[in-house]
């Protein structure tokens, strides 16, 4: 089923991963992506996708409503900032708890069905959450304009943060403000911890049980084993990951909006996971990074940037190239993303991770692997 691994190999991968994440600011610089907000997004959505993969990659249950947990985590965290304290620990704690509870309820109901019926149930719950949060729940969620901090929020645990005429205090970890680079390093550390836990889950007997559910649930049932508690646990764990990601979004940028829960947001994490490689550990993080990179960097390349880029060429070639290239960047960044999805899946069905494996196989063919392609998708 899965590529044979040893604890040592896992440890090497983990250490390489941790170093790669912590050094992102250095090696993203040549790619024009070295600024706090983008790297925070890499870490946060990487975490979201890693958690999603625990459900989808291991059990094969495709949830189309995971953004709801992200949204619930964000809302809880912002309310914690408003009511309790600007310290991020209670915010993260409550964000994970509420999204976990939310996931427990939705998971309990949705897991009564499988396959596409399960997907539609999760989608329905998420869409209901989104629609209500955007409209009739406006007193709690502040609807369209989003839940924001205000200068005179109660903040009962650290009321002294409210200074007369001093503006809104910043989110902090015992005084260390969570904006900019400290915010990134905090998210990065959380991602590395989350990644480590996901790795342990995957390699544990519990993880094997989930994989068994994926490969043949009927057989599992025939052996007299009730699989529901296992899948429900996986669902809740991935919901908590989503809630954690959501509260991190609020930590680095204290605002929560309803559109975070829309089906397109749920679809995005599905795409991230598939793009990177379903069922692999690193894949979802890579997929998340690729999509966020396109969204933030490609969308910002306008014609004057292109002219500067191609400026060394003769005018007529320059203009031609700019015209062609501008279809794919700036306002056309969606097109590039669509083409990328298609090309990836047509040529590299296992996602980015498979691309890596193929290259590895070609150059280090001595190192045989029983199954190079990671098991992608369900059935």
């Amino acid at each position: 089923m899965i590529a044979p691994t040893t604890p040592r190999k896992d440890m090497v991968m983990f250490i390489v991963f941790a170093i790669a994440i912590l050094t992102l600011p250095i090696w993203m610089a040549p790619l024009g992506g070295s600024y706090p907000d983008l790297l925070q997004k890499f870490a946060i959505f990487g975490l979201f996708a890693v958690g999603f993969n625990i459900l989808f990659g291991l059990t094969g249950y495709l949830s189309f409503g995971h953004a709801a947990f992200l949204g619930v985590g964000s809302y809880t965290a912002v309310w914690s900032f408003k009511l309790l304290s600007m310290n991020i620990l209670p915010a993260i704690f409550f964000g994970m708890i509420t999204s976990g509870l939310f996931a427990l309820i939705i998971g309990y109901v949705s897991l009564r069905r499988s396959g596409i019926y399960f997907s539609i149930l999760t989608l329905a719950f998420a869409q209901m959450s989104y629609n209500l949060a955007y409209s009739v729940l406006t007193p709690i969620t502040y609807g369209e304009t989003g839940l924001q901090l205000a200068q005179y929020d109660p903040r009962i645990l650290d009321a002294q943060a409210t200074v007369e005429g001093g503006g809104i205090p910043l989110t902090n970890l015992f005084g260390l403000e969570m904006q900019g680079w400290p915010g990134f390093y905090f998210c990065a550390v959380v991602l590395i911890i989350g990644f480590y836990i996901a790795m342990r889950i995957t390699r544990s007997p519990f993880g094997m049980m989930l994989l068994a559910v994926k490969s043949n649930q009927n057989r599992m049932n025939y052996t007299g084993l009730n699989t529901r508690p296992y899948t429900l646990a996986a669902f809740v764990i991935s919901g908590i990951y989503a809630g954690l990601a959501g509260s991190l979004m609020a930590v680095t940028d204290p605002l929560a909006g309803a559109e975070r829960m829309q089906w397109t947001a749920s679809g995005e994490v599905v795409l991230m996971t598939i793009l990177g490689g379903v069922g692999t550990l690193l894949g979802p993080v890579l997929g998340a990074a690729i999509i966020k990179y396109f969204e933030n960097i490609f969308s910002a390349i306008n014609e004057s940037v292109l002219h500067a880029f191609f400026g060394f060429l003769p005018d007529f070639i320059e203009n031609g190239l700019v015209n062609v290239a501008s279809l794919f960047v700036g306002k056309g960044w969606h097109l590039t993303l669509g083409v990328l999805f298609m090309v990836m899946v047509i040529f590299l069905p296992g996602g980015v991770i498979e691309a890596y494996d193929r290259i590895r196989k070609r150059f280090f063919s001595k190192e045989t692997r029983s199954s190079a392609a990671p098991q992608a998708g369900d059935d």
């Binding site: 989808f56 094969g60 495709l62 109901v109 009564r112 069905r113 499988s114 396959g115 596409i116 019926y117 539609i120 149930l121 989608l123 329905a124 719950f125 869409q127 209901m128 629609n131 209500l132 409209s135 009739v136 729940l137 649930q217 089906w263 397109t264 679809g267 599905v270 795409l271 598939i274 793009l275 379903v278 279809l327 056309g332 969606h334 097109l335 993303l337 669509g338 083409v339 990328l340 999805f341 298609m342 990836m344 899946v345 047509i346 069905p349 992608a376 998708g377 369900d378 059935d379």
Partner: protein
């Protein structure tokens, strides 16, 4: 009473639209098992067949517009009117119905091209890969349409005789207050005809029989020496035509824009699944059911009891049905349950 009658009418009209959109999807998704996220884009392409034909018919001579003095602006007079006068104007007026004739071959080609060029390589791939590739395709189609037509909705007028409302109340001897737009009535009838045609085609022709058999058990049909692959290609084409026609006829109700496919995508999946995987009848029934319930949920009397019910009714119904009936209204066992 009148209000309830009108809401039923609204519900049927909506239901007709939902059923028509879902019918195309259920042919591909419910029966061939291909998760096609590009289905909304196909619906949108249908609508843009109407827009394109209208653009062609109204190709215009540019005449300097003297009323704009700040800069050079041009007024446009369609060539058809210049050349044919009244007849030309009538042609332009009927551009939406005429688009149906254009849309059938165009959408058939689109469907065939999609199947031959892309989806046939994905029958045996995982759903995850089908999702990624069809989502990618949907984005590409959308962006191409946006590059040509922009993001703003483009209004399409129905022909003059269908432009107003019918006083149904007076016709049926009920209250005078029941009026309903002609074009929506046309849409309802049209949806009925298309649905009936598809059913007849699959029920009463040999081709349909083979396809239905193939949906049940592709392997056995293949062993009987029947080329089931080719027939599936045609089913794909058929699905594209049905969705495309739904799009064409919807343009006077909803001015089309490049994003309209995505707006209907989730809804069409919900309709198909609520109807039950693998069941055409289920999809149609679910379409009408959701349409009617959605209309009633919008009534002020009901919203007063449950605030915001109209926001979530579709999803609420979907949850209830899927919990009560594990495979939707009329789903078959074993289709996409793993």
């Amino acid at each position: 009473m009148d209000a309830i009658f009108l809401q039923i009418l609204n519900g049927l009209d909506k239901g007709g639209a939902y059923a028509l959109i879902a019918l195309g999807l259920t042919l591909i998704f419910g029966t061939l098992g291909v998760v096609n996220f590009a289905h909304g884009a196909v619906f949108m392409l249908g609508a843009f067949c109407a827009v394109t034909l209208n653009k062609i018919l109204t190709l215009s001579q540019r005449i300097r517009d003297e009323s704009v003095t700040f800069f050079e602006a041009y007024k446009e007079v369609p060539y058809l009117e210049v050349w044919f006068g009244e007849t030309g104007s009538t042609l332009i007026e009927y551009s939406v119905p005429i688009s149906i004739l254009v849309a059938i071959p165009v959408m058939l080609l689109v469907g065939l091209a999609m199947e031959r060029g892309l989806f046939r390589f994905f029958y045996n791939r995982t759903h995850a890969e089908q999702i990624l590739v069809s989502f990618g395709l949907a984005i590409v189609i959308q962006e191409i349409v946006k590059a040509f037509y922009g993001a703003n909705p483009i209004p399409q007028a129905p022909p003059e005789i269908f432009a107003g409302s019918a006083n149904i109340g007076a016709m049926l001897g009920m209250s005078e207050a029941i009026v309903y737009p002609w074009w929506r009535l046309v849409y309802l009838v049209f949806a009925g005809i298309v649905i009936a045609a598809v059913f007849c085609f699959l029920q009463f022709t040999t081709f349909g029989m083979v396809v239905r058999a193939g949906m049940m058990d592709r392997e056995t049909v293949g062993l009987l020496g029947i080329n089931i692959e080719r027939r599936f290609t045609i089913v794909f084409g058929l699905a594209a035509v049905v969705s495309g026609l739904a799009g064409v006829m919807y343009t006077p109700i909803l001015p089309p824009d490049y994003h309209m496919g995505m707006d209907f995508l989730v809804l069409s999946f919900v309709v198909v699944v609520v109807g039950g995987m693998g069941s055409l009848g289920g999809a149609v029934a679910a379409g009408f059911l959701l349409g009617v319930l959605q209309s009633f949920a919008a009534m002020a009397e009901i919203k007063a009891i449950i605030p915001g019910i109209d926001q979530i009714i579709i999803y609420l119904v979907a949850v209830v049905i899927l919990l009560v009936r594990p495979r939707g209204l009329m789903g078959r066992k074993g289709v996409m349950e793993t």
